[in-house]
């Protein structure tokens, strides 16, 4: 009895020793990555929070930043119409591009999986927008949307989609879906290939039709893919702003502005570091909240597998 106990202790001790040794080894191997992550992901979060508590713009250039507490946030949420617009625009973009991209991508994936002839060309045409720089996309679509003699101008000469507050956001959403649907499709293609074909055979024997088979087998089996893809498209909805620089500058009347582009405008066009930092903090909170909901309430295994 005693001997087994001391044996167990000895093994425990040995394990602990081993873990301590491997801990230092692990830290050493993680160090290069950790330095970068701490300096360029962790520290900037803290710095943004700190800088957001100061008035720091052109008027304080000579005197230096002035402590204002939470004033920047109060102004953003109560008086800043541009912030409000950008905030809602981002919500709309997320609410539309995520489901639409996913629906289109699933359809394309199902099709690309089944199609026998022309598989290559179909896959290429769906996927290539992923590889175009956003700046190039913006140039191309600017021509598409140019009124009267642009590509769309030939179909609908009266359309001035980028110059109208009611249409500009939707015109850009179409472009964003075009840009990312193929990327999303890729994950569904590999998700589909992971589904056991025998399940469909069994369903067929049970007399299920194609729609039922999709609802009962395909879609549930694709759930981990969907969770992962939702995170990707969610992040995209907040970070893809390069096109605004070329196409609209957030206009007209900020109808196409987005939070990240507003950060750029405040921070770099207007040298207003305080307000820009406050918007950055809001963005960080939104992204953390949204992804945390995905990670921790839905399915941990997506990432921990």
């Amino acid at each position: 009895m005693t001997s087994t106990q001391s044996n167990a202790t000895r093994i425990n001790q040995a394990n602990r020793l081993k873990k301590r040794k491997s801990t230092w080894l692990a830290y050493g191997m993680l160090l290069p990555s950790m330095i970068i992550l701490v300096v360029f992901t962790l520290y900037p979060i803290g710095e943004s929070i700190y800088m957001s508590l100061f008035k720091n713009n052109m008027s304080t250039f000579v005197t230096g930043p002035v402590w204002v507490g939470l004033q920047n946030y109060v102004t953003l949420f109560t008086r800043d119409a541009v912030f409000k617009k950008a905030f809602y625009n981002n919500l709309i973009i997320a609410a539309v591009t995520i489901p639409v991209s996913i629906a289109l991508a699933v359809a394309m994936a199902l099709f690309a999986n089944k199609v026998r002839r022309g598989k290559g060309i179909v896959r290429v045409s769906y996927f290539y927008p992923t590889l175009l720089p956003m700046v190039a996309v913006a140039n191309i679509w600017l021509f598409v949307y140019t009124p009267m003699y642009g590509l769309l101008g030939y179909l609908a000469p009266t359309w001035r989609l980028l110059e109208n507050v009611d249409t500009v956001l939707w015109a850009l959403i179409v472009m964003l879906v075009w840009k990312q649907a193929g990327y999303v499709m890729i994950f569904y293609i590999s998700g589909l290939q992971g589904i056991d074909q025998e399940m469909y055979e069994a369903a067929k024997i049970d007399g299920a039709n194609a729609v039922q088979a999709f609802r009962r087998i395909t879609w549930p089996m694709l759930r981990p893919t969907t969770i992962y893809v939702t995170i990707i498209t969610m992040t995209n909805a907040y970070k893809l702003v390069d096109h605004l620089y070329i196409m609209t500058k957030g206009g007209p009347d900020n109808a196409s502005n987005m939070l990240l582009f507003y950060v750029y405008q405040k921070a770099f066009d207007q040298s207003n570091t305080g307000v820009a930092s406050a918007i950055t903090v809001v963005l960080i909170v939104i992204l953390l909240l949204a992804t945390m909901v995905q990670f921790f309430t839905q399915d941990k295994r997506t990432f921990y597998a």
């Binding site: 199609v115 290539y128 927008p129 140039n139 970070k239 945390m292 990432f303 597998a305």
Partner: protein, 281 residues
């Protein structure tokens, strides 16, 4: 299965299939139109650029003209340096970190794992302002190194390595240890060769990310000598605010987009697999 129902079933299926064929090829065509149009405008003599219905022999005039108008060679060089510089560093950092997460038991493993997750959750673009301040304070603004530094670690890549290493039998490592193989040699001689497909997959994604990256280099880089392609393109496109030079802007867009697209058309399957691979299962 009775011979009676089988043909009917097949017919129904093929009707559905036909409809979806039509729909999906239509979408494919619509997806391709912007590309076709851009390529067409890049190669058409510029007096026809805005006329959709014009037909003319393709010409390289637009390219000769824009090649003289901006230092595209410099832009290409800078983009290449950024892409390969980031890749080289990432390969080192992600193999090391991936191995630690896959094979080692250590304190605060979960905490550190979440820290890595943060990088995925908060895209680098969101932190442009504080990171620009950091890079400036380090004296690295307007340097290619400054444009690369924040990307030297990759959580995505680390997770991919960790996952792949877990699929490699541990016996290989134990056998090597018995042979007296130390850790660096073991990583290089046993793991790296087996990680090559995963590294290629990650490399393609990271390379296309860096090739297309815009906002960060726009802010960090000031001089023409250090400007990458995307920033060069944006500034070039805006120098033609007259809009009359559509063929020039299309040609420039083509220059910037073509390398990745050509690679993609050549190695289509590989690309698709790589991108699919990055989806952590």
């Amino acid at each position: 299965m009775t011979t009676k129902t089988a043909p009917r079933f097949r017919w129904k299926l093929s009707l559905g299939m036909t409809l979806s064929y039509i729909a999906m090829f239509l979408i494919a065509a619509v997806f391709l139109i912007p590309l076709i149009w851009m390529v067409r405008t890049a190669f058409i003599p510029n007096q026809h650029a805005t006329n959709l219905l014009a037909i003319a022999w393709p010409t390289l005039d637009n390219f000769t003209r824009i090649w003289q108008a901006a230092p595209w060679g410099t832009y290409y060089t800078n983009t290449f340096i950024i892409v390969f510089g980031v890749l080289a560093m990432q390969f080192i950092t992600i193999i090391l970190a991936g191995y630690a997460f896959a094979r080692l038991d250590f304190h605060f493993k979960n905490t550190l794992f979440i820290l890595f997750l943060m990088q995925i959750m908060i895209a680098a673009d969101v932190l442009i302002l504080p990171n620009y301040k950091t890079i400036s304070a380090m004296g690295l603004s307007n340097t290619l190194f400054g444009a690369m530094l924040p990307f030297f670690a990759s959580a995505m890549g680390t997770f991919l390595m960790r996952q792949t290493i877990k699929t490699i039998p541990y016996e290989l490592e134990e056998a090597a240890k018995i042979d007296g193989c130390n850790l660096p040699r073991m990583l290089l001689q046993i793991y790296v060769p087996l990680l090559v497909p995963a590294l290629i997959a990650h490399g393609m994604i990271a390379a296309s990310y860096q090739w297309n990256n815009f906002l960060w280099p726009l802010i960090v880089i000031n001089s023409v000598a250090n400007r990458p392609l995307t920033v060069g393109l944006a500034i070039f496109a805006m120098s033609y605010e007259t809009g009359a030079q559509w063929s020039d802007v299309s040609a420039a867009t083509f220059l910037v987009a073509a390398p990745l697209l050509v690679l993609f058309f050549l190695f289509q399957k590989r690309f698709v697999q790589s991108f699919a691979h990055s989806g952590i299962k």
